[in-house]
């Protein structure tokens, strides 16, 4: 890993949502500054509602920051583009396309030749373990398999950065464990910079080089943890447990804050 090369740099990113008829206005991100290096696997973790997904969407270019900026290779991100790939928790596949067509969607948009699409698709089917499913429609696949298709689709057009929004959050425990193992291998073959949003400490520790802990909103980066352990990681390794305890402790404080604020809001409403 080349630590000197900064891939993503967030500079004092702030995000405020204006009030709508259904929701009050809220400042999701107070001031987020962070660096992610080339080839690094970075996890964003924090209590629910802390704005970690919002931050990811700003990196993706889906949302605009209220202040501050995010640089990708030194250029300010203003809109979505194929130098990034996205994987959502809900898979968000195109149900009218087969597995194969879903995977090559990005390549076809970029007018790649049929032969290029096919060979790239074959590679990805191989890497993601989807061989034999290329003609299936998404609804015939299990959640885990659908998420593999979503990962293959995001990697197909070879983006520099892979953005993942709680990608294993909707999967059952066994499937999730298997997906994490397989995804480590995928990541090691593809060697991409990954920004990975999760609420699972265990997931972040199994996967990431660096873990950014978000405080409750309006959120800042509360702490940064480096996980310098070889993969695949052993959850009973004392070093693993030590970082896990530290993160859980720090996270609990934020969850506590969140609970207090929400309880107060509820009480205020009752009055």
């Amino acid at each position: 890993m080349n630590k000197s090369n900064v891939k993503i740099r967030a500079k004092k990113v702030k995000k405020h949502f204006h009030s709508t008829p259904f929701t009050p206005g809220v400042t999701a991100l107070q001031e987020i500054s962070l660096d992610v290096h080339e080839g690094e696997f970075a996890a964003l973790i924090g209590p629910s509602g802390c704005g970690k997904s919002t931050f990811l969407y700003i990196v993706a270019g889906f949302e605009k920051s209220s202040a501050g900026e995010i640089l990708l290779n030194g250029n300010t991100i203003t809109r979505p583009g194929p130098d990034r790939g996205i994987v959502f928790q809900e898979y968000v596949l195109f149900p009218w396309l087969t597995v194969e067509q879903n995977i090559t969607f990005g390549l076809e948009i970029q007018n790649k030749s049929k032969a290029q699409c096919n060979s790239r698709c074959q590679d990805l089917l191989e890497i993601t373990g989807l061989n034999g499913f290329e003609k299936n429609y998404p609804h015939t696949l299990s959640g885990g398999m659908q998420q593999r298709v979503a990962i293959a689709r995001a990697l197909a057009y070879d983006p520099e950065v892979l953005l993942m929004d709680e990608p294993f959050g909707a999967l059952d425990a066994q499937t999730k464990r298997r997906m994490i193992e397989d995804f480590i291998q995928i990541w090691e073959t593809m060697n991409k910079t990954v920004l990975f949003v999760t609420h699972s400490v265990e997931e972040a520790l199994m996967l990431a080089d660096t873990i950014f802990l978000f405080s409750f909103r309006p959120s800042k980066i509360k702490e940064v943890f480096s996980v310098d352990l070889p993969r695949p990681r052993d959850m009973s390794d004392p070093r693993f447990v030590k970082i896990q305890t530290a993160i859980l402790h720090s996270l609990d404080e934020e969850v506590e804050k969140m609970m207090k604020i929400e309880l107060n809001a509820e009480e205020a409403q009752r009055k």
Binding site: Y57, F62, V92, F94, P95, W96, G106, I109
Partner: protein, 270 residues
């Protein structure tokens, strides 16, 4: 393959059983003269009468060739529905993707929609006269609203994340429309067209009864009444049901099998 033929036969049988049951009861009620058989002729008589009407021999009265009435009704509904299908699908899709278009047309549609299509008939007669144009026009009005509403709703049914997923891969607005919104709207569009054609049928038959052009199933049924020709009336009604079935199962059924059912976007009820 053999299995799927078997499945189809099973489906057909499960469809026919309730129909046959009702027809048999009807036959019995009519044959035993529990109900006056002139008012309610037995189905077998109606079917054999329909076959006579379909055969190329003039039996007098208004009936002459049943197939001619059917063909003319069919042509009218086809023209009326197709005009609405093309224009209103486009309008609905535009309303789905563009807020300004939606804001302009939505109030107009909200106002016009509750008006029954038949309320237009007297006015349209004044404009277009007692002829095919009037019937086609009313059929078209009847088809408009479900198509517009469902096409617009279909476009809006695609989640923002589907659009984002395409955007990040570099899709232009045009590509997003053609490759994401349009196929994503298919279940809604198909449902809209089904409703539209159903409404068009009703408007057609009713308008044909009012605008007596001498042809059409509505005219046939209405005129047969003056001769107390109940067999022809029932034959005409039966024909409407049969044509509706062909459109529903044959046309829309096969489109749905090839699209939304295959994609798992809409579950088959069978």
């Amino acid at each position: 393959m053999g299995k799927s033929i078997n499945e189809n036969v099973k489906k057909m049988i499960s469809f026919i059983i309730p129909v046959i049951t009702v027809l048999v009861c009807w036959e019995v009620v009519s044959r035993l003269e529990i109900v006056n058989p002139i008012l309610l002729p037995p189905p077998t008589t109606i079917i054999s009468h329909a076959i006579i009407l379909l055969s190329p021999s003039d039996v007098g009265g208004v009936s002459f060739f049943l197939e001619r009435h059917v063909a003319i009704s069919f042509a009218r509904i086809l023209v009326g529905y197709l005009i609405a299908a093309v224009t209103c699908t486009i309008l609905g899709l535009l309303m789905g993707i563009n807020n300004a278009v939606f804001k302009f047309f939505n109030p107009l549609i909200t106002l016009i929609m509750p008006i029954p299509s038949l309320a237009w008939v007297p006015v349209v007669i004044l404009w277009l006269g007692l002829g095919n144009m009037t019937i086609v026009f009313v059929t078209m009005i009847a088809s408009i609203f479900p198509i517009i509403y469902n096409s617009a709703a279909g476009v809006r049914s695609m989640t923002i994340k589907h659009i984002w997923a395409a955007e990040i891969m570099g899709a232009t607005r045009k590509t997003i429309f053609l490759k994401v919104l349009l196929p994503g709207a298919m279940p809604y569009i198909i449902a809209g067209h089904k409703l539209a054609l159903g409404r068009a049928w009703r408007a057609l038959v009713a308008t044909e009864m009012v605008v007596a052009t001498g042809y059409g199933l509505g005219y046939l049924i209405f005129e047969a009444r003056t001769f107390m020709d109940t067999e022809t009336m029932y034959a005409g009604i039966g024909m409407i049901a049969l044509l509706g079935l062909i459109i529903e199962k044959g046309f829309f059924g096969s489109i749905e099998k090839k699209t939304v059912e295959k994609w798992g976007m809409s579950r088959s009820l069978e």
